[in-house]
Amino acid sequence: MKRGAVRRNLTAHAFLLPFLCVFVIGVVAPLIYSINLSLYQERMVGGMTFAGLDNYTKAFRDNLFHAGLGRVALFFAIQVPLMLCLSLAAALAIDSGRLRAPGLFRIGIFVPYAVPGVVAALMWGYLYGDRFGLVGEIGALLHTEVPDLLSKNWMLASIGNIVTWSYVGYNMLIFYAALRSIPEELYEAAEVDGAGAIRKAFSIKLPALRPALLMATTFSVIGSFQLFNEPSVLQNLAPSAVSTNYTPNMYAYNLAFEGRQFNYSAAVAVLLGLVTVIVAYAVQRATARRERML
């Protein structure tokens, strides 16, 4: 190797070093630590003993864990497509050039992203309520019985609405940025070839959107399967509708901090992480064959 090459090799490592340090402390170490922890059990007699995969087999059979996982899977299957379609429609509308004041729509729809999840949940929690919320007021105005959005039956939909509200603009912006990056010449060439608006949408816009769609779905998988903030805030307002195992993340949290079952909680957290990665990967396979992040 030439001297210059060796020096550049060292420089590159030096530039990466700070990241690698915080990456180890913030990601790798907790991961290894919790995998290790999940392999042990705290026994009344004998204290901490090696348990192999016992915690995992327990989690596999744990109905409370299944219930939470089922809930977030249902949430993912319904909320994510709805939200992404809304975002996509908004991005296409803003990009179409046929909208008055597109800048206003862009920033206005994006603004909720800047609202902390906890504040969003607090706010919507009040809005849902019939005491001084908007929903009750609208019901009174229309003289109709509005369903209790904080009841057990409506809770998942209510949470879905909060998450949609928070992230619809964020996803719209990712799609919009992808649409803006399409070179103008491509449209011109298509027009010369006689392509109409629909043809252009399917042959130029959709393929250009694929990587952005991939990124948005990946983050949505993570968001859905790791759901915590919104349900745990709403739990305050409707304790009977949100159980302590409402989502797997809440379950892991409650196992550790209410139940002091740190080993089992670690196994649940690891398993949940695995499920998240697997679903993210599967969704990526389905959305895009060529471009993949994983």
């Binding site: 729509f105 909720p112 009040y126 809005l127």
Partner: protein
């Protein structure tokens, strides 16, 4: 189309209008006036004063903590990710493929999945309930690194680096004087994403902190809300505090988004488009 988009805009903005209007109401008017119009009297300034004085001004502490966690956490994470992403994009070096693969894999491990393990690890290390427990994990942003790698590949022409090298500039000097300027939009994008993430962070601080003096706004506000819901009798009604405090908590982020708008949009395109 404009009508449909108008409905969507109403959907995103009405809750914020509600929040703003509600912040002008006293506890009693909150309960018995219409949600989308002002009640009798304008209590915004009174509410703001109450927010800042309640419980010996703990809100100001939370605000300060949030600023500290965000500025140090997000600022540090952005600098670290920029350096790393630049290295991955511009240098051929041993271990590059491994680092890329591991980091991209890590993007799908969300911070919240690591919160409980982080608590357990940090409590063994003895840094639970210190600002470090929030700051250290915030500094690692695999997504920021990924975005910067993509952005640097696009924004920094290798020929320019070669030219600078021939002129005798060192690698650090090239980075600081040439590359950093080209990377600015990407840097601002990463900064805004990490800023939002740290400002809005709830799960991690909830777990690793138990001293209210160290809380960020999110955890503090949630605690106030629990107090308001619990119906605990206090000298000052807590409900207006939760609402006004929430409003004050989102203002800085919205302002910074509006200010930095034109910088980050070009950077955003990179992450979503190129691979």
């Amino acid at each position: 189309m404009t009508v449909a988009m108008g409905l969507m805009l109403a959907y995103t903005l009405i809750p914020l209008v509600w929040l703003t209007i509600s912040a002008t109401k006293s506890n009693q008017t909150l309960l018995d006036s219409s949600g989308l119009w002002f009640g009798d009297g304008f209590h915004l300034f009174e509410n703001i004063r109450d927010v800042f004085t309640y419980d010996d001004g703990i809100y100001l502490r939370w605000f300060g903590n949030t600023v500290l966690y965000s500025v140090v956490g997000a600022g540090g994470a952005s600098i670290i990710a920029t350096m790393g992403g630049y290295a991955l994009a511009m240098y051929e070096f041993t271990g590059r493929r491994v680092v890329s693969a591991v980091v991209i894999g890590a993007i799908s491990i969300p911070a919240s999945a690591l919160a409980v393990p982080t608590y357990l690890l940090f409590s063994d290390m003895g840094i639970v309930n210190t600002p470090w427990a929030v700051l250290l994990p915030s500094l690692a942003s695999p997504f920021g690194l990924y975005l910067m790698r993509v952005y640097a590949t696009e924004a920094v022409p290798p020929a320019m680096l070669e030219a600078a090298r021939i002129d005798g500039a060192g690698e650090l000097r090239i980075f600081l004087t040439i590359s950093l300027r080209l990377l600015a939009p990407g840097f601002v994008t990463v900064l805004l994403f990490t800023l939002v993430a740290t400002w809005n962070n709830y799960f991690l601080p909830l777990i690793v902190l138990n001293d209210p003096e160290l809380f960020p706004l999110t955890v503090g506000l949630h605690q106030w809300n629990a107090l308001a819901q619990g119906g605990v009798a206090t000298a000052t009604p807590v409900l207006p505090l939760v609402i006004t405090g929430s409003l004050l908590a989102i203002v800085p982020l919205i302002v910074s988004f509006l200010f930095l708008q034109r910088f980050w949009q070009s950077g955003l395109a990179a992450g979503g488009v190129k691979q």
